[in-house]
Symmetry: C2
Subunit: 339 residues, 2 copies
């Protein structure tokens, strides 16, 4: 049986490029796509025939005000790729639809789904303020939501990574380096996932016998407020490590610490979450928790496919994995005398 | 193509009996099983041939000191049925193995799995004290655990119901009936699931703006201690509803309340969890949270099958569903004057 590898070998290109071409990824040229398809047909690649027999339509719904997806370095790009990698061979036709709050206000979710003949959706980037979040409470359409949990509706499933595990692994790492005074810096708690990470941080701190209070937690919609308002206070109060709710904040925190004359990680350890591309372009490179976005996309399809088969999945989480890079080190002894 | 329904119609028996016979369920007689198999062959039932071609061996591991599984009314019986309903058609040979703590002490988990040629397992009934729970931390064998979560091992997955959602639905119901003083009665927190439900209760109370403290939470290994030591204190302190961690405690609590001269639900509402057979044999019948055990078994197979395919599932939860029966009612006005 012909595989993607056979097509890749024949053309002298990578397996992932073949996969992208077969999945209509936007970063593959039309010429290359044509060549891949012709080679696939020539080699009698059987899966391709299934791609071309759409049975049922499902959509990936993107909240375009909150999440980027069109280019390979965008957060949602690989999630969509992973979703399509399973959905299309399983006979589904997948459409990607970007919506904003104005659109949601004008059209009810279930009506939108019905009008377009979608039997289910995989939802990315919705915040707690998005109008459709209320629609999901009572929707009868099978809906898998990335990083959103709907209580009490058996037609919805929550897909994401295990944030509790991620925070636990992070605090295990920091406490093993001697850190006891640890602060948390977060984006605003207007999204389910940031609320979940905030709670996970508090629980993990408790698990390691450490104290959290208003003094060592700072949350703001604006990254600049995180670094201008909270970070200096943390540094002055003798905090030795800062856990950030995502890598963008961690990256900004690293820059701000340097401006304030603190060395990372010698004076202060800074860690992120998500393993965004920025995590390896900061100096020092960020210790963070990785989200495998291809696997998350596949999980989205697993969850949706279960709902479509009347299995009432509530929650489908992937294991978190800690990536230790350069932004964490042991607590300095007599650190306070250096300040 | 012949289906299970065709075999059932031919023999004039139910579809589920045919399924049980094909899955070697212990409550189907040898004579009936033979008849079902002969009919299946006569009708050219193709799936049967797959049952007879075991490709890989997996096991359901039962901690026999903690969970019963052999008879249809036992808690784990339907979970195992659900698991086999998916595993066997998928080409796996499933063996059910009961172990105790002594056995676990003498044999390491991974060695046991290797010796018996099992490529993965679905684990039921293990408490936090079971020796193999430590083995699961570092095991490389794909392992799906019912009601147990292992942090940081991508070869393990946690399968269960969404306890947070269950407690949320329960407290939504009780608060809508006017209850504000609500207590929690639980088995000892020596199992992951009872710890999870305890935390879920505290979080849900917080969500509804209600207070929890040492005065309204009682946990004990012995049901008799729950009803003798804690319940009278709750009743005296003006508690109007008691949430129990499982139906067995709720049932005992109902009996004890009656002995103490309190009417259920007029004087006090009592609710359980799990929807065990006992929930409908108490008087009044228990309001409780249902666990669909067939679906849980199927979820166990989904999770294990994902791990076997290198998808690092951490958590796979089913939606909780509230069943309102007779053991809950509105808070009596001027209830305190009746005491």
């Amino acid at each position: 049986m012909t595989t993607i590898q056979d097509i890749a070998d024949k053309l002298g290109i990578s397996k992932s490029t073949v996969s992208k071409a077969l999945n209509d990824a936007p970063d593959v040229s039309e010429a290359l796509r044509k060549q891949v398809l012709e080679t696939a047909v020539a080699l009698d690649y059987t899966k391709l025939r299934r791609y071309k027999k759409p049975v049922k339509k499902i959509c990936v719904l993107i909240e375009k005000e909150n999440i980027e997806y069109e280019k390979p370095h965008h957060f949602a790009y690989d999630i969509i790729m992973g979703f399509r990698q399973l959905a299309e061979p399983a006979g589904f036709e997948v459409e990607t639809v970007a919506v904003d709050t104005a659109f949601q206000k004008n059209t009810a979710y279930d009506i939108f789904m019905l009008e377009h003949d979608y039997v289910g959706s995989f939802v990315l980037g919705f915040s707690l303020n998005d109008p459709w979040l209320k629609d999901f409470d009572n929707s009868k359409t099978p809906t898998a939501l990335f990083d959103n949990h709907i209580t009490g509706n058996p037609s919805t499933a929550y897909v994401g990574i295990d944030n509790d595990e991620g925070m636990d692994l992070m605090l295990s790492h920091l406490t093993s380096l001697g850190h006891r005074k640890i602060a948390y810096l977060s984006g605003s708690l207007g999204s389910y996932v940031l609320k979940a990470r905030h709670s996970a941080f508090v629980r993990a701190m408790h698990h390691y016998g450490l104290v959290t209070d208003f003094e060592n937690i700072g949350c703001s919609y604006y990254i600049s407020e995180c670094t201008e308002k909270y970070l200096p206070k943390f540094l002055e109060s003798g905090i030795t490590a800062v856990v950030c709710s995502h890598d963008n904040i961690a990256s900004a925190a690293v820059t701000k610490c340097k401006q304030l004359g603190y060395k990372v990680p010698e004076d202060i350890s800074i860690v992120g979450f998500d393993d965004l591309p920025i995590a390896t372009s900061t100096s020092p490179k960020l210790t963070t928790v990785i989200q495998d976005r291809i696997e998350l996309g596949k999980s989205g399809f697993f969850a949706l496919s279960s709902l479509l088969n009347d299995i009432p999945i509530s929650t489908f989480l992937l294991h978190s994995k800690l990536i230790i890079r350069e932004s964490t080190s042991s607590v300095r002894t007599k650190k306070s005398s250096n300040l």
